[in-house]
């Protein structure tokens, strides 16, 4: 299962890289969102999968699954959500100000 999940996250990285290399700003943002999915999956796999039960102490099993990666991913999800939100609003504002949605056309001030 670990190998399978790793390959899945590799497929997501490939798709994200391809999107980030494209010309449209929204594709880039989409790519960054997909990239964060891939990273979260990788974090999960690195802790090992399905070694025990849910990390809640009420149950009394032999082993729990590793709780540290879960805490890390939780933090990462929130942060990447915040960043994605700011990206989206920036793209929206940029389009409002410049009328351009393709970042390759953004060339700074003319008099620079």
């Amino acid at each position: 299962m670990e190998i399978l999940i790793t390959i899945l996250s590799g497929v997501l990285v490939t798709a994200a890289t391809y999107l980030i290399l494209s010309k449209d700003l929204l594709r880039v943002i989409l790519g960054s969102a997909i990239l964060s999915h891939a990273v979260h999956l990788l974090l999960m796999v690195m802790g090992g999968l399905k070694k025990g039960t849910v990390p809640l102490l009420g149950e009394k099993p032999n082993t729990y699954t590793d709780a540290i990666p879960q805490a890390l991913i939780l933090t990462a999800i929130v942060i990447s959500f915040a960043v994605t939100a700011v990206f989206l609003v920036m793209a929206y504002r940029m389009y409002q100000e410049t009328g351009v949605s393709r970042h390759a056309l953004l060339r700074g001030n003319k008099n620079e």
Binding site: M1, I3, L8, S9, P55, A67, F81, V89, A91, Q96
Partner: protein, 803 residues
């Protein structure tokens, strides 16, 4: 007792005081109090002459950075004494001259501050015993001379000359610093005296240190092919040219070579580099000087040539170290003796010549030889001084240049007799080139006197009325000219009191065993040397007389082939090349930069994975995959692959949503309920946000926005490689478990924190700091979103940004 450390510091302290003096607006010219500084220092140094002549040396240390072996140590011996006397003596005369030369409208305080800075750093160079302190003062001379050359900074030529001198001498200074560091690595000490004792000539760093040190010395002393900065530095005021570019700074390289002869001398490389470069410089400088039409440029090339002469003599002198302490060796130390003697002579007559040229420039307004002539009857005193200086430079009796030129011929004739260091083959060239160079020296010396002062006046009527310079301006060149004569008639005073102790500094191993001094005789009988001098005069006169006929020779060296053109082209190429290179890769397109980053990732991570052979898969410890997990994974894979290829953006968002909810489903199977919850909520909000944004943004431009197929292929290749390397790295890491997880500790969450949810206990108790900052991130993002949507600058705001 006044130490040399204090002597070095006095000019710096005086430089600090000048602005205060200027503020008080005293009626006296600011140059007079400044004049007292070098004059006093000269007296102080002169009082050491008897004790130094008795073989005493003075060592003084002030702590600076003891932990790095860097102390402000001064060592005062015969060699430093000569230079110290030149710096302070000619410094006083130059300041005296400048008082009359510069009008009070110039910004005099800058002039004298720079000049005092230069004087102090030059004294620091010749008195320092510590390599690093020597380097500090060396660079200070470069900086202060840069400031002095560009004294009239509103002129373009001045700025060009200053920049050129700065670039060349500072590059040489950096080479010298490298050499100093190598010397420190070789010997473990920074003190020059101690290095002489412990240096190991078989050390692998010995040769690089030697070459780099000579690069430093050659750039500073304007040796071939680094001589090009000196003629352009002639844009400086004439007192500066007289002081820096004839008597002191250009001799710093000579000092360096003389000072390091006991360390590096004796080998073939040292001999050929110093003598060879010196001889070539001697010839090239004298040959090029003849074609100059500007008097100061002529003097600049003549300085280059004379410096080459001194340099070659130092190289010949180093041969004696190769021979040990035999009687034969002493013969070659006489070359160094002659070099030092000529050093003193050159400072006297070249200083006088520069000052005379300054007077001509000052009184007539031009230095162009083609416009000058017939000044003798108007300026008899200047003419006399110029004649004394030029004849001495040409090597005629009864002037001091005659004595040192004879000794130079003796040295080159001696060297051609030897048969080691490949001298048997090439040695005979040295006296021949030296002799030819002397002929050209004779020719340009005659040009200075006769083209300027004799013949008919070619001045136009509009020019200023010609008259003799004020007495004050004539004092300094007069004193120097008197010295030229005095040294000729009493050369042995100089020899016994100044040169003999200096020789002990250059040849410490020989000094105890044999007498290094030499009796300088004005008339030494009929021998080859005197015949050579007669030949120089005869051929020189012929060449001068028929100059018009052979001047065409110089057109064989077109301006576009000169070293100046090479230097200018190099600078231009360097600038255009680097800006072209920057423009080539800094395209301003985001995709290109991302491409560099991804390529670097592929090369660095993929390369190291490949090179170290770290890739491995561990298929044994795998958790089993159930059917519904297969379904989730496959769905996510298909969605992930499809996102880049879908035609409309709504499909792309929905596929991203599929990915997000797939993640949540996976978190459920991984036994991570908190993650699953968060993921569902966040994915929902994100998808909503995406949809909201798409409402405002234009549709994907499918028609003309299509990337070129080649670009698409590259993107695809890069993405696949990135993904593959990512997978390979991740698999390799997973297969190599080094030690167990520390999660066992957190399973005590209940007794430590009172919580039963381990993940929440980690977030809220064990590692709450992360959570706090994550909240801050959310908070900042919220403020950012709010500001971006609400704060809209109108046209006024745009103007602010444009400014």
């Amino acid at each position: 007792m006044i130490t040399m450390n204090l002597v070095i510091m006095i000019p710096f302290l005086a430089a600090v005081l000048i602005p205060i003096l200027i503020k008080r607006k005293s009626p006296i010219h600011i140059g007079w109090p400044v004049f007292l500084v070098p004059a006093a220092l000269f007296v102080i140094l002169a009082r050491y002459i008897p004790s130094i002549a008795n073989g005493e040396t003075y060592l003084n240390t002030m702590k600076w950075i003891p932990s790095f072996d860097i102390d402000f140590t001064t060592y005062f011996d015969g060699l430093s004494l000569i230079f110290g006397l030149l710096i302070t003596g000619i410094g006083s005369l130059v300041i005296l001259y400048s008082i009359y030369y510069l009008s009070s409208e110039e910004s005099l305080q800058h002039f004298y501050i720079y000049l005092l800075l230069f004087m102090g750093s030059m004294l620091g160079v010749v008195f320092s015993d510590n390599l690093m302190v020597l380097y500090v003062f060396w660079e200070l001379t470069s900086i202060s001379s840069f400031l002095l050359i560009a004294f009239w900074f509103h002129r373009k030529r001045s700025r060009y000359g200053a920049q050129k001198a700065m670039l060349i001498t500072v590059s040489g200074g950096l080479a010298m610093l490298t050499s100093f560091i190598m010397i420190y690595l070789m010997t473990g000490t920074m003190s020059i005296r101690e290095i002489i004792a412990v240096v190991d000539i078989d050390h692998p760093l010995f040769i690089p240190a030697l070459v780099l040190l000579l690069v430093g010395a050659f750039t500073k002393s304007a040796q071939f092919p680094f001589h090009i900065w000196l003629p352009d530095a002639m844009e400086a005021p004439t007192p500066v040219s007289a002081y820096l570019h004839s008597a002191t700074m250009v001799k710093a390289g000579i000092y360096l070579v003389a000072r390091f002869t006991p360390i590096f001398g004796g080998g073939e490389l040292w001999f050929w580099l110093v003598t060879g470069v010196g001889i070539v410089t001697l010839f090239w400088g004298s040959f090029t000087a003849v074609r100059q039409t500007d008097l100061k440029a002529l003097l600049a090339y003549s300085t280059i040539s004379q410096l080459g002469l001194i340099m070659s003599l130092l190289g010949i002198g180093s041969i004696s170290m190769h021979m040990g302490s035999s009687m034969e060796a002493v013969v070659f130390t006489q070359a160094t003796f002659a070099g030092l003697f000529h050093l003193i002579n050159h400072s006297t007559f070249k200083g006088a010549l520069f000052m005379v040229v300054g007077i001509i420039d000052h009184e007539i307004g031009t230095r162009d030889i083609r416009r000058l002539g017939g000044l003798m009857s108007f300026m008899p005193v200047s003419f006399t001084i110029a004649m004394i200086g030029s004849f001495s430079m040409a090597g005629l009796p009864p002037f001091n240049g005659f004595l040192s030129k004879e000794m130079f011929f003796t040295a080159v004739l001696n060297i051609s007799q030897l048969d080691f260091f490949a001298l048997g083959t090439w040695g005979v060239l040295i006296p021949v080139i030296a002799w030819i160079a002397s002929i050209f020296t004779f020719v340009y010396s005659m040009i200075i006197v006769f083209k300027t002062f004799l013949g008919t006046s070619r001045l136009e009527t509009g020019d200023r009325k010609v008259h003799e310079a004020p007495v004050g301006m004539l004092i300094s060149p007069g004193i120097l000219a008197a010295l030229v004569l005095a040294v000729f008639f009493f050369p042995n005073i100089v020899g016994d009191y100044l040169l003999r102790p200096a020789m002990a500094g250059i040849f410490p191993s020989l000094a105890d065993k044999v007498e290094l001094s030499q009796h300088i005789s004005i008339w030494h009988g009929f021998n080859t040397e005197i015949l050579m001098t007669i030949g120089v005069i005869a051929f020189g006169s012929l060449l001068y007389k028929y100059m018009r006929r052979w001047k065409g020779v110089f057109t064989l060296f077109p301006a576009s082939w000169s070293f100046d053109a090479l230097y200018n082209n190099m600078l231009l190429r360097l600038e255009s090349g680097s800006s072209g290179f920057t423009r080539f890769y800094m395209t301003g397109v985001l995709r290109d930069y991302l491409l560099y980053i991804y390529l670097f990732f592929i090369l660095a991570v993929g390369g190291s994975l490949f090179m170290t052979g770290a890739f491995s898969i561990d298929p044994i410890h795998q958790a089993p995959v159930r059917l519904y997990e297969w379904v989730i994974i496959l769905v996510m894979m298909v969605a992930g692959i499809a996102v880049p290829f879908v035609k409309t953006r709504v499909t792309a968002i929905l596929l991203n949503g599929v990915l997000g909810y797939g993640m949540a489903a996976l978190f459920v199977t991984f036994r991570a309920p908190d993650l699953a919850l968060t993921q569902i909520v966040v994915e929902t909000v994100t998808t909503a946000l995406f949809l909201l944004c798409f409402f405002f943004l234009p549709k994907w431009e499918s028609g003309r926005a299509k990337a070129a197929p080649r670009m698409k292929t590259i993107n695809l290749l890069i993405s696949i490689s990135v993904g593959a390397i990512f997978v390979m790295t991740a698999l390799s890491v997973q297969s190599g478990k080094l030690f167990n997880t520390i999660s066992g500790f957190f399973e005590k969450a209940d007794e430590l924190t009172g919580g039963k949810n381990i993940v929440n206990a980690i977030l809220g108790d064990f590692r709450a700091f992360d959570t706090m900052l994550e909240v801050v991130v959310l908070f900042i993002a919220g403020i950012g979103v709010f500001t971006l949507t609400k704060l809209k600058l109108g046209k006024g705001g745009k103007n602010v940004e444009d400014q």
